[in-house]
Each structure stands twice: as C-alpha cells, then as structure tokens.
Amino acid sequence: MAEFEPKIVAFVCNWCTYAGADLTGTSRIKYASNVRIIRFPCTGRIDYMLLLKAFDEGADGIIVSGCHPNDCHYTSGNFHARRRWIMFRSLCDFTGINTERIKFSWVSAAEGAKWAAIVNATVTSIRELGPYTEYKKVAKYPEKEVTHG
C-alpha cells in the first residue's frame, strides 16, 4: 500500500494567508499537494463548527491561518479569532480531540515561503500521526475511505 496521504483542509483569510499562498505560487516554491484551501474574508469569519465538520467528513489535519497580529485588513478580526482559538483549542484538548491535528499560524501576504513550510510541516506531522481514525470511527465514516491511500 502506498504511503498514507493525509487530507488537509486549510481555512485561511483572503488578505494575508490566501495572498501569501498566491505568493508561494508566484515564487514557484513547491509544497505537498495534500492541502486544499478554503478562502474566508477574515479569520474572524472562520466558524469553529466548520473545523469539526471537516473532521466529521474525513479530514486528517486542519490548518487555520491569517494575518499577523496588528496586520488584519479589518483591524481586529484576527484578534477576535485568536481569543476564540485559545478557548476552542483548549476545549478540543479537554474533550480529547487531537489538537496536534489543528495547526494555527500567521502567514502574511509576503510570507510565501512560510506558507510552503507550514504546509510541509503539517503534512509531515499528520503523516506521522496517521489517519484520524478515532474521529472517523465515531463519525461513522465509511470504512473503505478510512483505509484509502
């Protein structure tokens, strides 16, 4: 069987990380293709329930990324987001959800290389962790999909 290829969903803001990932492309920096980006206007828009939905539907890892503190296009969306992440991540940890599978980062529009590095590091660590079978099991995720490689 081929090496396990994790499914990774990235929730990113439009102004910093999405643009940063554009720069990764413009700079032709290569990174692992396991990640799929979903664009939000701002990290402040990212609903924590969507992260749980991603795990429900079979994601093995999640990246949440936006503008560095003070750099938010909307002034403070990322500050609000940060406070929510602090609490949400702690609650996940408390309920036993594997928080190593959710990577939070700040990637600015100028940090194309950082985006590639974040994706690669996430893919590597999730690959080591293996498929998120615990969650998939309770999500009654079809068995054949779990072993998909």
Partner: protein, 667 residues
C-alpha cells in the same frame, strides 16, 4: 436546478504543464448541476471571455466557475464578463488552479486530483450563490497625501490641478524630502534644488492644497471614498499666522551646535531653526529636545527678539480630524546607517562618510558651499574611494536586495569629484554596475571614459586609518582577485536604501500590507504598482521600494490619476460582501434575539439596534441591523452569532459549509 458552466484555463502552459486540464473539465462536466464544461488555452483573453459569454447565453447558465489563476488576479475580469452576458456577476466564482496548484506542485495525478477538488468545491459553492447588487457609497472628494518629498509634491500638484482638494502632511518642518538634500541629479547633472524649489513654492501657493508640515497621521478609520483621518500637528512653538519668517530668532538663538539633519550632521543648526534656506514654509520651529528653555526653564531669547511676538512656548500638539476620499502614501525611504560595518570604520573615522553626506558636501547650499572638503581637517581629498553596496546585497550584515539607485549616484559622485577636484583620483569598488535606464549606462561610461574614474570590481574587506590616510583593502576580482590597497583621503559608502523607521506602524494604521523589508506592498507587482490592497489608498515613490527621482515622479502621477479617477464619480459602487441580519415573517421577524454581543465584536461599529414595532407603534422586539455603508465584510460577527442570525453575503453559512462538505466527499 442549477445550470453551472465550468471553464478550465490552461493559462498558456502555466496550468496545463502540471495539471491535466482536459481531465479536470471532463470530470467537472459530470457533476450534478453542471450544464457545460470546457478547457481553453487563455480564458482571460477575448476569445476565452467570449466562450464564457456565449455559454451563458446559449446554455442559460445560472452559475459560472472559472478555474484559472488566483481570484485576487482576475475575479473582476470574469465577473464583468458574466455581467456583460446578463448573469449576475456574483454568480461567478474562481478556482485557483495556478497559484495554489499548478505552480506549487509537480506534474502528476495528485496535482490533477487537487485541481479537480478545487473545481468541485467552487461548483458546489456556486449552487448556493445569490444574485447580489453592488452597494453605492458617496465619495468625499478630498485627497490626503502623506509625505512631502518629490513624490508627495508631485501627487499633490497633479491631484490639485484636476480641481480636487488636497491635504498634504509632512512630518518634518519643511517639504522637499531627500531630493532637496541632493546636489546634482543623474544623468543630466542639473541642480536638484533648482528643479525642486519651484515645485515646493507651487504647493504652498496652490489654492487646492492645504499644507501641514510638522504633522503626522495619528489614526485612520473608514473606507474608500469615506476615510476619517486624525492628524497630529506637532507643536512648532510658534504662531504661524504671526511669524513672518524674518529669521531674527534663528540668528540669535544661543544653542548653535546641533548637528543639522538637513546637512546629514556635517553642518550645525540652532534650536529654533528653519531646516534650510529654501524651506517651505519658511518659518522656524523649536526643537524642544535641544532648546535651553525646555531643558532648563529659562532663556526665551527668541521670544525677546521676535518682532511679531510669534513665539508660543506653551503651544501643544493638536489633533485634527479630516474627512478624505483617497490617500496617497509618499513617505519615502531612509538610508541605513553604515555603523553595522565596523570593518569600514564609519563613525570612528570622520572621513568615512555616506553617500547622502557626500551630496551635502557637493551641494552649493551645503556646509562647504559645494567644495569637496573632508570633514576631519577641511582638506580637499586628493584620493577618494567610493564603495558600492555598503549594506545592499548583503544578507549577513545589511539587506539582501539591491538598493537600485546607488550605482548611478556613485557614478555621479565620482564625476562631480573629478569635475571639482582637478588632478584628483577617484576609485569605485563595485560588484556589478546596474545602470538600466534612459541615458544611465551612457552616464556611467562617461564617468569612466571621460572623467577617468577608476572602477575596480571587488568588495572592500576593510578600511583603517594610518598616518592620516585611510587604507582601503580590496581586490580586483577581474585580475584573479589580486589585492588592491589604496591610501585614500576620503571614503564614501553607498549605504543601502531601507524603509523608514515606523513604516510598519504606519502600515498598520492604514491597514495596508508591507513586504518583509517593511516597504509598502503594491496590489500587484506588475499591473497595480500604485494601488495597495486597501481600496482608496495608493503608493508613490520610495515608500514602496527604492526608487530614483523619475520613477518616484512617474509613480506619483500614476497615483494622482487613480485618485482623480476615483473623484470623477459622485458615488462609488462597492462589492456587496457585507453582513446582513436575517428577517422572517411575523411574529418572529428575525431569529436574532437581540443580545447585541455582535456590536462589541464589530471592528467598524457597523451594527445598530433596530426596533420592530407593531401597527400601533408599540415596540415588539429589538434586533441587530447592519449598516451597509459601514460594514466592510470581515464576518467577525457571523462566526460569533449563536443563533446564526447574521450571515455574510458571498461567504454565507451554507456556502462555507458546502465547501467543506464538497471538499471532503468524493475525495
């Protein structure tokens, strides 16, 4: 039932080199609700757009997904095409197959699979898109220009000449910027002040320009067409209305030994001072850090001698608020101080100076009245060495990028030296000569061929002083790295051009992006060089990257046209990407329970309370309401609302939820 069209672009070979575009189109064609699917070489070209338009008309498409480059690049293009074909532009979405896929992954099945996923996500999203109408907002037809160097001056004049009002703020006591410090300008060798000062005067006299010097931006709120800026007018300690600029105070001020900023420390100034004789406005300010009165509580000589009684020791900073519709940032650059190169001895040896200091030495208005004399003993240097890249192209101690202007000004400096010091010998240590520009290469050749400047290809390792000479250790890399040692009288370092101190804070106040070097980021490196990512804020000159005078002026005029274009309309249309609170039929009216936690979460104070009354005018319910003029569409309230009563158009709950579902199913 949706009828969605999928248009997969090859982008020449940019996408098709690693993604099997035909397979992407074929797979998408089989999705539920997709009525048409095709791949094409250049979707953004005229025939490509026509392909979309005719498909919309012929197939009666209800939604369009263009799978090509980043939406940040071409979303407006394709939305406009859809609108032209009669489809609401907000029924068009883009899948980013280029920047997020083909350019960052190797050719292979996985890359094509990812491309297919990206298309599927958007196909599913577009099923939940709604027709939206653009929002109209009024435009305040006054521009704020920040920075009064040549770029800010040019931008202000150009905007003012189109008939619109301009507020120009400058942090120093005078406008003029770095250009006013320069002696001659390359490649024409015309005198910098001679071409600049008439412009400075024009700014001061223009009926459409309000000039505030010694003023800085305090904060900024609002959005394109409707900014509110707070400006701090630093106290000048004089009443400008009374001051006639007679100069009595500056002559009599007893504190005379302050290094002059304008002369780069090579000359001195007083505590109450006008930075240079041609300053605009030509009225003094008191430098409170050095003024005896502010240090010791007594002196007041200036107050005594002032014939119009204009001195105001107790004047305070003023904060004023202005409403503007557009902003041009022209805050320029600064030079990196070369003391991070201890091997060159700057700061230790007085005759090792920076390029900007040399400008002051060569300038007729400078401390030596234009004669090249070395600072230590006023002697005319018989041998002079210029070091290029003193900080530039030096990741270890300086900055990795090329400062761009140094090659030219070094050639100019060497040339000026040769013109002014007959029989003098000049050397330039360089790595490459970067003289791309009209008449630039010819200029450098003239320095070498006609003026006898010795160009040596190699970096200098160190400079030390011995018996009154500066020993310069270098090599000639064109001669097998043969050592070259020059006993020089003076050394000029071409220091790197870097972003201003405080550039980061300013960018944060303005909510614009900046690059890793803290230069402000343009919206697109090629096609939007003067725009920022924040609509209504434009860039001019060296605040964006090192720029020479012609480039700064060209950018300024470009930015001015953008502002004038904006001001040519009375109303602006804005993307309707805003939050809305749901409304339902009575007796519910809305699922909003009126807890108003969203009010404190909103960065724009865009959420208000709406009273719902019955026919008798009795209050039934209080619910939240979004002011569409103020909402900027960040969605912070959306993720926060417990009852999911607020949603954001374009990124609705259904759309985002669907994207996640579509992404992970059929993976």
């Amino acid at each position: 039932m949706s009828k969605i069209g999928v248009f997969v672009c090859h982008c020449g070979e940019n996408i098709s080199a690693t993604v099997d575009c035909a397979k992407v189109a074929e797979t998408a064609g089989n999705y539920d609700g997709v009525a048409f699917s095709v791949d094409y070489k250049y979707m953004c070209s005229d025939p490509g757009q026509n392909l979309i338009k005719s498909a919309i008309k012929e197939k009666g498409l209800t939604g369009v997904v263009v799978a090509s480059c980043s939406p940040r690049m071409h979303e407006p293009t394709f939305r406009k095409a859809c609108a032209e074909a009669g489809l609401n532009p907000f029924m068009c979405e883009m899948a980013n197959l280029r920047e997020h896929c083909s350019w960052v992954h190797e050719k292979g099945e996985a890359t094509t699979e990812k491309a297919i996923d990206l298309v599927r996500i958007l196909v599913e999203k577009v099923k939940y898109n709604h027709s939206l109408n653009e929002i109209k907002v009024p435009v305040t037809k006054t521009a704020l220009v920040i920075g009064g160097g040549i770029a800010g001056i040019q931008a202000s004049l150009d905007i003012a000449n189109t008939g619109h009002k301009v507020i120009l703020i400058e942090k120093d006591p005078s406008i003029g910027g770095h250009m006013s410090q320069l002696s001659e300008t390359f490649p024409t060798l015309d005198c910098s002040q001679c071409i600049l000062t008439p412009r400075m005067v024009e700014v001061a006299q223009h009926p459409n320009i309000t000039l505030y010097t010694y003023a800085e931006l305090e904060s900024l709120e609002g959005f394109i067409g409707n900014f509110k800026a707070k400006i701090r007018r630093k106290s000048k300690s004089i009443d400008e209305k009374l001051c006639t600029g007679c100069g009595q105070c500056t002559t009599k001020c007893p504190v005379k030994k302050i290094p002059s900023e304008f002369n780069e420390g090579l000359g001195k100034r007083t505590a109450i001072y006008v930075p240079f004789p041609q300053a605009v406005p030509n009225k003094p300010v008191i430098d409170r850090i050095n003024c005896t009165y502010y240090i010791k509580g007594k002196c007041k000589v200036c107050e005594i001698v002032c014939p119009t009684k204009a001195i105001r020791f107790d004047q305070e900073d003023q904060i004023m608020e202005v409403e503007v519709g557009a902003i041009v940032i022209a805050t320029g650059f600064t030079v990196k101080q070369p003391d991070f190169f201890p091997e060159y001895g700057y700061g230790k040896y007085p005759d090792v100076i920076t390029g900007l200091q040399f400008e002051r030495l060569a300038s007729a208005s400078g401390p030596t009245l234009g004669e090249i004399r070395r600072p230590s003993d006023d002697k005319v240097p018989e041998k002079i060495v210029f070091l290029a890249c003193a900080g530039s192209r030096d990741p270890a101690k300086g900055i990795p990028y090329c400062s761009k202007i140094c090659c030219m000004y070094i050639a100019k400096h060497a040339m000026l030296y040769q013109h002014k010091v007959h029989g003098g010998k000049s050397y330039v240590f360089y790595m490459d000569i970067r003289a791309g520009g009209k008449q630039y290469e010819e200029f450098v050749r003239r320095a070498i061929e006609d003026d006898g400047v010795n160009y040596v290809r190699g970096r200098v390792s160190r400079i030390y002083e011995k018996n009154g000479k500066l020993i310069v250790n270098g090599v000639d890399t064109l001669l097998n790295a043969m050592p070259v040692e020059i006993e020089a009288d003076m050394v000029v370092l071409a220091t790197a051009g870097i972003a201003n101190e405080g550039a980061e804070e300013l960018a944060q106040k303005l909510h614009i992006s900046y690059d890793p070097y803290k230069f402000f980021a343009e919206a697109h490196p090629k096609l939007k060089p003067v725009e920022t990512n924040t609509a209504g804020i434009f860039l001019a000159g060296a605040c964006q990257a090192p720029r020479d005078i012609p480039e700064s002026v060209a950018m300024a005029s470009g930015a001015a046209v953008k502002v004038a274009g904006l001001f040519s309309q009375d109303e602006l249309t804005r993307e309707p990407i805003i939050a809305v609170v749901n409304r339902q039929a009575p007796p519910v009216y809305s699922s909003c329970v009126g807890c108003f936690l969203c009010v404190s979460a909103c960065p724009y104070q865009a959420i208000e309370k709406e009273e719902i009354k019955n026919r008798n005018g009795e209050l039934i319910k209080l619910i939240a309401k979004v002011n569409p003029g103020l909402c900027q569409g960040c969605g912070t309230c959306v993720a926060f609302c417990r009852t999911k009563s607020i949603d954001i158009q374009g990124y609705t709950h259904e759309q985002m939820y669907t994207e996640v579902m579509a992404l992970l199913n059929e993976y």
